[in-house]
Amino acid sequence: MRVHFTVNGRPQQADDVWEGESLLYVLRERLGLPGSKNACEQGECGSCTVRLDGVPVCSCLVAAGQAEGREVVTVEGLADHARQRARGCGESGGSCGTSLDEAKAWKPDGADSQTGEGGELSPVQQAFIDAGAVQCGFCTPGLLVAADETLERNPNPSDADIREALSGNLCRCTGYEKIMDAVRLAAARQSEGV
């Protein structure tokens, strides 16, 4: 079957999709977006976490056909998503035009809004690097999507809030402490407006 949906702000179409296929498979194997990881295919690890109409879900447990007409944000689109949020557009409405400051700050960085490569990182991504929260990196994309959504909903989360929000994401390398540091760092920078 054919499935249409929006990925990271762009309309996409996937052909020859098997009816029992997961959204994760379509993203990785049909749309060439390997950021979302496949580690368990049973909802246990969270490494496939994406936003589906804004809501964090395990893309391995969404049937591809269920994504028809919906909006998906993957880790590849996280920086764009964060930028748009900072500009106050997107779900909360508001004007999405480019501001004068932004226009002045524009650099030809060759970013690809589809793959996210070559572009600037979102604050959460930068915080993960700065805090040393990435080791093998396999869990990272899912954690980034989950952490970014947490900070969107709750700009000043307590440690308990962070633990709860990330309880669906497993990491076998870091022992989680640096991940906690990274989310705290992103929250602190966000509240300072850095």
Partner: protein, 296 residues
């Protein structure tokens, strides 16, 4: 495989009547695991996520009509005052990602003895509204679970909503597992005090082939509370009464040994949870009782 996308409830019923083997998929948190691991290859997969009606709830005078697909995350956020037991149980399900998708309709569809909604529904009192092209009926929750992962649905029927009694007193939910997130219950216990009818109801998960109530324990406790005038005097439940209640709850179990725990551990744990949830709910009832007495 065919992927069917009914746009309305009526269309879904028609599809299910035409293809009784069609597997409904709501949050997909049970169905997709089975498909990913090739445990299930349905001929038809019927997506229910286009049917907005299934995502709505209505708070009535005595009950909440909870659409079959309302995700656990919404129950926790919006229905805590009306359905405290179910909200607590919802919070113990898996992880935020799973709670954003999975809901009570899917839990009832799977009818696993370990499903977390079941003890809460049994304790609160509920009816499952099911429908087919032949008509609609309400199945009392006590009669809904018919065997291990079996329920009372006919092949052409779908779950439309669950009518859950609004809490008229404190409710609790307790679950044993190896950690706080992402655990299927080793066993679980739900308890609801119903001061209006002066009754206590229970629900036990993962300790018998189906979710069950501990009816003998309820009868014993109802009689003991009535005899001692506890509902009126708001006294502490005597330890011997609590112990007898806990023993009867443990005796209601018919558990098995499996990777998650032994039968004897489960029976023991159910007794402990029964005593604890009784203490917690009764303390909170006494607290409310004292406040109303004081105000009067």
């Amino acid at each position: 495989m065919d992927f069917l996308r009914p746009a309305s409830w009526e269309e879904a019923l028609a599809v299910k009547a035409e293809h009784p083997t069609a597997v409904p998929i709501a949050g997909g948190t049970d169905v997709m695991v089975e498909i990913n691991f090739d445990h299930r290859r349905p001929e038809y997969l019927m997506d229910l996520t286009r049917i907005g009606d299934l995502y709505e709830w209505e708070v009535g005078d005595d009950t909440v009509r909870l659409g079959a697909s309302v995700p656990y995350a919404q129950i926790m956020e919006h229905l805590r005052p009306e359905l405290p037991g179910l909200a607590l149980a919802s919070h113990t399900v898996a992880s935020p990602q799973i709670r954003n998708r999975g809901g009570v309709g899917g839990n009832l569809g799977t009818a696993s003895p370990a499903g977390d909604a079941h003890p809460a529904l049994l304790a609160a009192g509920a009816e499952v509204e099911v429908e087919s092209v032949r008509g609609s009926r309400r199945i009392p929750i006590d009669g809904f679970y018919t065997g291990v992962k079996r329920n009372a649905l006919a092949p052409d029927e779908l779950i439309r909503a669950v009518h859950v009694k609004k809490a008229d007193g404190p409710q609790q939910y307790s679950k044993v597992g190896t950690r706080n997130a992402m655990v299927i219950a080793v066993c679980a216990f739900g308890l609801a005090l119903h001061p209006e009818t002066r009754t206590v109801r229970t629900g036990i998960g993962s300790a018998a082939p189906t979710p069950i109530r501990a009816k003998a324990a309820e009868d014993f406790l109802n009689a003991a509370l009535e005899e001692g005038g506890f509902w009126d005097n708001g006294k502490i439940v005597t330890p011997s009464v609590a112990k007898q209640f806990a023993d009867l709850c443990a005796a209601a179990c018919n558990p098995i040994d499996d990777v998650r725990g032994t039968a004897s551990y489960r029976r023991h744990a159910v007794g402990v949870m029964a005593r604890r949830t009784l203490t917690w709910t009764w303390e909170s009832y006494r607290g409310a009782h004292r406040t109303t007495e004081g105000a009067a």
